[in-house]
Structures are given as structure tokens and as C-alpha cells.
Symmetry: C2
Subunit: 156 residues, 2 copies
DNA sequence: TCGATTCAGTCAATCACGTTGACGACTCAT
DNA sequence: ATGAGTCGTCAACGTGATTGACTGAATCGA
């Protein structure tokens, strides 16, 4: 007698549930591979860094948080050996963040785990459906946000 | 030169982006209607209460948090006049939480705002697509979780 | 019926993680 | 050169979660 019918569950709840399952699965996989004490934003940071080095500020807007918060995250990740911070060669104000080789290993693990989870989802949902969801949401959200995918939920 | 292509954006990021947009929209709508100082979990709590009164514990598992955390949320909402707490008639341990009339008004506003947002999303994505996303995700997640929709992202 | 156990909820301490505001270092246009 | 704007940090703080210890109520077995 579960009174929750598909048509009236708010999308926000659905998306948060789905994200929760995925992030949980990721962290289970990471601990299984020996990655301990991993914060949930690290995966997103590494994803961004895979496109090349960035400044603290860019990372902050990418994550949708203040630059102070981003700075702390970087500091934490650096202490764990995943990223490397160096002064920008031409602009003395900036610090450029990029991956260490340990970070690359971490990113590879994250991507593998996500691939496994998403593959099993695709299998159970019908493979076309999941890709439809992904592509239509990405294009819609990117469009809605003016060219870039909006940052992951601030959830104030 | 945005290197983010639809097919390789991890689902977790997409869902969190989407949820963020929705929750942001909700809170903008709420402040526009005079609801101030609203926490993001309140909407979910009211959604649950619309199915009838619940105990603190049930609410905790529904939200995916500890009962202490749920207790504080209830306390906060009660202070804002949205819910009413009464001892369970037959079981002296329990406290039953239900909506006040102010809470019903709040819930109505939440639902209206979500409806507006979702309607505009549906319009832009193609109305069938959004409903497909909703229903396939709900059934899939519910199934995956063993009969109930998993709680909204713990995001530890 | 009584004792042990389990269950609901709270109290207290703590932690994770974000915020704002003030600030110094640097860049850049004028 | 100077004044404005940008990048990142420091410090103080708030919110919302956690864990662990606890109280009181219910339940269950002998």
C-alpha cells in the first residue's frame, strides 16, 4: 500500500534519489578499491581537471560554491596527493590546479565505477532509455543555463 | 569550446544539476510568495505528511537521515507553524507529526510552484519526454531499492 | 507478572562544509 | 603612477548532519 504513484512524485525528489544512489555506489566502489576518506565533491573536481588545469576560481564556479570553499577542497585534495597546485606563470594572482598521477589513478577508478553502475542501470531500464534521459537532460539543462551545464546542487 | 559532450557527462552530475535547478526555482518561488527562511528539506517533509501523520522515526528514514536530525527539522518546522506534534494515543513512546492548516497552505504553494516549473520544462523538452523520464526513473529506482523510492541524496 | 530486551525520542558534543567580510597581492587601463 | 578590479586567503561563524549515552515506554518470554 505504497501511495506513491509515479505521476505525482516531484522531479526534484526523483533526481535527488537517483543521485544519492549513484553517489553511494561510487563511494562504496571507491572504498572497495582502497580509496578512503573521499569527499563527495572530489569526483566532480577530478572530472573538471581531466579537461586540463584550472584556477581556484574556475573550480569554484564549476562547483557552484564560493572560492573560499573551493580553496579548502583543493587544499584537502592536495593533502591527499590527488592534485598539484602551482603559481600561474604569467599571472601572479592565480594558482593553477592540476592532477597528479595519483589523481589520474583516482579519476580512472571513478570513471570505471560510474561506468559499471551506469551499465547495470542501462541494462535494467532498457539501454536506449538511459541514454535518452542523459542526452535530453544535458541538452535541456545546458540550454536553460545559457551554454554550460549548471553546477551540482547547491541545496541551501 | 565547451568540451562537455552529452554522452560522457556522468549521470550523477546531471541529476544533481537538475535537482539544483528545481530546488532553486522552488525557493525563488517560495520567497516570491512570502515564505521566508525555508529549509530545503521542508518540501519533502510536507510531501510525506500529505499522505497522513507520521512518527519522527518514519520521517527520518524517509529523509534518509538520523532520527536526531529529523527531530531537529520537525522542531524547526513546528516553530514556524507548519506542523503539529502530538503524542501517539496508543503508544507513549511515539510522537505523531502532522500538518497544520498553515502547513497545508505551504504545501499547496510548493506543489503549485513545482507544477509551474515542471510544466515549463515539459514544454521545452517535449511533453512526452519528461513524463517518460519521471515514470521510468520512479519505477526503476523503486524497484532497485526494494519497493520504496530511496531517500533524497544523503551526499555524505 | 516480572525481568530483559527492544524501541522511540532527546541531549550533548562534535564534525563537515558551506557562508560572509576583511584583507593583501597582483594586474591592467588610463 | 594610480586607482579600480581580480585572485586567493584568513578568520569568524552558521547550518545541518553525525555519533554516543541516555530516558522512558512497550513488548516478549519464562
Amino acid at each position: 500500500m505504497n501511495a506513491e504513484h509515479a505521476h505525482n512524485v516531484p522531479l526534484a525528489r526523483i533526481f535527488l534519489s537517483a543521485a544519492g544512489m549513484l553517489v553511494d555506489g561510487l563511494h562504496r566502489g571507491l572504498t572497495a578499491r582502497g580509496w578512503d576518506d573521499v569527499r563527495h565533491s572530489w569526483g566532480f573536481v577530478m572530472g573538471r581537471l581531466s579537461a586540463g588545469p584550472t584556477s581556484v576560481n574556475e573550480l569554484a564556479t564549476f562547483l557552484g560554491v564560493s572560492k573560499q570553499a573551493a580553496s579548502k577542497t583543493i587544499e584537502h585534495m592536495e593533502a591527499h596527493g590527488l592534485v598539484h597546485v602551482a603559481p600561474h606563470p604569467d599571472d601572479g594572482r592565480r594558482k593553477m590546479v592540476d592532477m597528479t598521477s595519483e589523481g589520474e589513478r583516482f579519476l580512472r577508478d571513478v570513471q570505471e565505477i560510474y561506468s559499471e553502475i551506469e551499465a547495470s542501470w542501462a541494462e535494467q531500464m532498457g539501454p536506449g532509455d538511459l541514454e535518452l534521459i542523459r542526452s535530453s537532460l544535458v541538452t535541456f539543462l545546458t540550454d536553460l543555463n545559457g551554454g554550460t551545464l549548471p553546477p551540482p546542487a547547491p541545496l541551501k
